[in-house]
């Protein structure tokens, strides 16, 4: 097992090609839950776990069924379908198995299906030709990157409530400006490692 490759994958997915700041994906959830820190943390945890599992699931379905049968053109449809089904099952099971966890994090589950990153990661796994473990680590890296993005944004937005923002910029406009500034900062990571 090439541990360096796996470690590089995590760094690449979370910092260098951060899905929010470098690829502008998953923005509507990003802006939606970062108003408060606890919703951001809840979403990060749920998202990372769903991401890893669905990356694995999608890889298995792609590798063993779609590739041999030549059904690669169906990847978008199938990946979203698999994620939706898995999220629904997870929702039902979590409700029964641990109601406490469901009460804290359950609302985020349904939101994740609408997240673009959930589709982007398996598609990238396919196009880059990663193997199973590499796909899982790529998913983990994207989850870590998304969590990092949301926690940074949430902490800034909480402070923003008390700041003197012009009336026409309050709420979403100033958040977009700030995301752009953070994205500029994250550009500093480019070239950190070359895959």
């Amino acid at each position: 097992m090439e541990f360096t490759k796996l470690f590089e994958l995590i760094i690449a997915a979370s910092l260098i090609n951060n899905f929010v700041f470098a690829k502008y994906l998953g923005l509507c959830i990003f802006f939606g839950v970062t108003k408060k820190m606890d919703t951001a943390i809840g979403m990060s945890l749920t998202f990372t776990s769903v991401m890893v599992i669905s990356a694995g699931l999608n890889w298995i379905i792609y590798e063993f069924i779609m590739k041999p049968l030549g059904l690669g053109f169906l990847e978008i449809v199938i990946f979203i379908g698999v994620v939706a089904g898995f999220v629904q099952a997870a929702d039902t099971i979590m409700k029964k198995v641990s109601p406490g966890l469901y009460y804290r994090l359950g609302i985020y589950l349904a939101l994740i299906t609408t997240n673009c990153i959930i589709l982007a990661v398996p598609l990238e796994n396919v196009s880059s030709g990663y193997n199973f473990i590499e796909s899982l680590f790529f998913g983990l890296g994207s989850g870590i990157g998304f969590s990092l993005a949301m926690i940074i944004m949430a902490s800034i937005r909480e402070k923003l409530e008390l700041a003197d923002v012009p009336k026409s910029f309050q709420g979403l406009p100033i958040s977009f400006v700030i995301t752009g500034l953070i994205a500029l900062a994250f550009l500093g990571f480019s070239g950190l490692i070359t895959l």
Partner: protein, 385 residues
């Protein structure tokens, strides 16, 4: 069994539709599949159909199974309560929407069943019946406007051309009216009311239809000058003005504003109005809604919300106790001890005090007659029981 079949059917239909939409245009392109030779469309189609259909079936079965095995018992009472509630999600109860209140009232023992103000008594009783709690009688609240300065009766500071909403006008120097405590009249409350109880008159003042008003307080929250107040239904005589400016200035700004002259204080037999900060306010627990102050106010700032005051009439079972003569503020009742009393209609103002005070409920005709009789009958029934 029913669940499983429907889920399968739906997933099958969906997958078939998806297959036909995708394969026709994009057959053989994408992923890591390179087109190296002629494409066998028939085989591709068959594989796609089997795969998508199979995946749909697998997921359908798995989800149906999960739904069965991991089903959480929802208290059916919550659904029943939710069905009775009006469903406006106005938040007057203090919970997050009607579902929030339904869950809270069923689950928690200290949540009162009469918190739904749009639902009024019928909903409170129904909820009390389902949850086994006792519904205390709650007096309804109505939105009342505390300003009569319509655009023809009041002065404006400047001409406003902007967003036609009171919340916008208030940002431009506290509103375009000279009186900064008055109703701006740009229809914010009309827009915000979820029950359509508020309509704007030609004078640009909101008119509250009390048959539709539920006291949900949305208009009160939205009004930027806080000139619309939600008060108990029984407070029907109010000083319809909030102006804390000196009388001289109030008169300049508006023809119908309160100038704090104190006439109402002198006239009131129950000592209800109180003048503070250049404004008269009627203390609601002292006011007996007799309406004596209304014609006496020099600027007509006091508004009587009782639409029509019919005069009192003495019924046959009067016992001649002389009480109505003692309580009448205009001395309209007269009669001798132990003989039938009479009410002089030229003097009677329909204030309803005698109706309330009569020990045998022998006076009828005033606006509060039905309530007084009903309350007396209830008391009698309680005593008998």
């Amino acid at each position: 069994m029913c669940n499983k079949f429907t889920v399968k059917k739906i997933s099958a239909i969906t997958t078939i539709l998806l297959v036909f939409s995708t394969t026709v245009v994009y057959a053989g392109v994408g992923g890591e599949i390179d087109v190296s030779g002629p494409i066998d469309l028939k085989q591709l189609l068959i594989f796609t159909l089997i795969f998508l259909g199979g995946l749909g079936i697998v997921f359908g079965v798995a989800l149906a199974f999960a739904a069965q095995k991991f089903a959480v018992k929802v208290d059916p009472n919550v659904e029943r309560v939710r069905d009775i509630l009006p469903g406006a999600n106005c938040g007057a109860c203090g919970f997050a929407g009607c579902m929030g209140y339904a869950e809270a009232v069923v689950a928690k023992p200290d949540v009162s069943p009469n918190l739904c103000s749009p639902g009024k008594a019928s909903v409170a009783d129904a909820i009390a019946h389902i949850t086994g709690k006792i519904a205390a009688a709650v007096e309804p609240n109505f939105a009342r406007l505390m300003c009569q300065g319509g655009w023809s009766k009041s002065q404006k500071k400047y001409k406003y051309e902007g967003i036609q909403d009171c919340r916008a006008v208030i940002l431009a120097g506290g509103g375009d009216k000279s009186c900064r405590y008055g109703c701006l009249g740009y229809r914010t409350c009309e827009r915000v009311c979820p029950f359509g109880a508020i309509t704007m008159t030609a004078e640009h003042l909101p008119f509250v239809d009390i048959t539709k008003c539920t006291g949900c307080r949305k208009c009160e929250a939205a009004c930027p000058t806080k000139v619309i107040e939600v008060l108990p239904a029984s407070s029907q005589v109010l000083v319809s003005c909030h102006s804390k400016d000196k009388g001289v200035n109030t008169k300049k700004n508006c023809q119908v504003g309160c100038i704090a002259c104190g006439t109402c204080v002198r006239v009131c037999p129950f000592d209800a109005p109180l003048v503070e900060n250049n404004l008269s306010k009627i203390t609601l627990d002292k006011c007996k809604v007799c309406g004596l102050c209304v014609p006496k106010c020099p600027t007509k700032a006091i508004f009587d919300f009782i639409p029509h005051r019919s005069k009192a009439v003495v019924l046959d079972h009067c016992i001649g106790c002389l009480i109505c003569m003692k309580v009448c503020p205009v001395n309209a009742a007269y009669g001798e001890h132990k003989k039938l009393h009479v009410i002089d209609h030229t003097k009677c103002i329909g204030c309803g005090i005698c109706t309330a005070k009569c020990p045998v409920q022998a006076i009828d005709g005033t606006f509060n007659a039905t309530e007084v009789f009903a309350a007396a009958a209830a008391k009698k029934a309680e005593k008998a029981a």
